[in-house]
Amino acid sequence: MEAGHQQSHEEHELVAALRNHDDAAFTKLVDTLSPSLLRVARGYVRDDQVAREVVQETWLGVIKGIDRFEGRSSVKTWVFRILMNIARTRGKVEARSAPFSALAGEDEDGPSLDADRFRPANADRAPDHWSIKPQVWRTPEEELLDGETHQVILDAIDKLPPRQKTVITLRDIEGWDAEEVRNALELSETNQRVLLHRARSKVRAALEDYDNEMQPAE
């Protein structure tokens, strides 16, 4: 529970530094959190310029609010909450004037893979087992971690619906734990896991497609 948030010594120092107008502490926080703030903002608004404005407004909100910050959540949870309030509002305004809403199609209930990857549920033999098995990837693991596959991963994450994008960004890129994410996004435990699993499955599928394209047709 958030009420039980224990402010660590570091957090305490950070808040004190911000209240004391410590430029270096503020700059460091901006540099640390802004890339993820931008990525999350882009989930809610389509226009890149608007996403940057949302991040800018977030930081202005942080500056104005720091004296009232009570430390009941961590600083980063608080910053992301400010972002999401602003981003949701801007997203709604933008959606009204845009022909297609970027927020459409959360598709959280679809399967992780195409249904035809598995044998039918009523098959005589091995129902619901693989019909098209995953193949060993040609892309070596080192390349997965460093190479151009990074762009494949980033593109896949960019295409995710907003909530999936937000959850995978905070959990797997930022390294937040499940409870921090649930608190910041006000999600149930189950919902947090479902969104994370959908997101990871889609990134895996994108890498599988990329790997298939690398292979000469047989």
Partner: protein, 82 residues
């Protein structure tokens, strides 16, 4: 130990995150591991899934704010007398 119904591949791939987060029931946890003991395709899928999590964790974005915007924020911070 009772014989539990097998966890088919289609079900297994939907609960990997639950498994990794320790959120499966004791029964499903056992079904998950028993299936992996017999299905190399699912083992491969789970390995790829874990490699993806690791790869996503390595992403560092160069996508920083424009320098002017960043400077503007720092001076707004400096000038704010709240």
């Amino acid at each position: 130990m009772n014989q539990l119904p097998e966890m088919p591949c289609r079900e297994l791939i939907e609960v990997i995150t639950d498994y990794l987060e320790g959120a499966l029931s004791a029964e499903d946890h056992r079904r998950f591991e028993e299936h992996l003991g017999t299905c190399t395709a699912c083992v491969l899928y789970v390995e790829q899934f874990q490699a993806v999590i690791k790869a996503v964790g390595r992403i560092t974005s160069e996508d920083q704010l424009d320098p002017e915007l960043r400077e503007g924020l720092v001076s707004a911070f400096r000038d704010w007398d709240g």
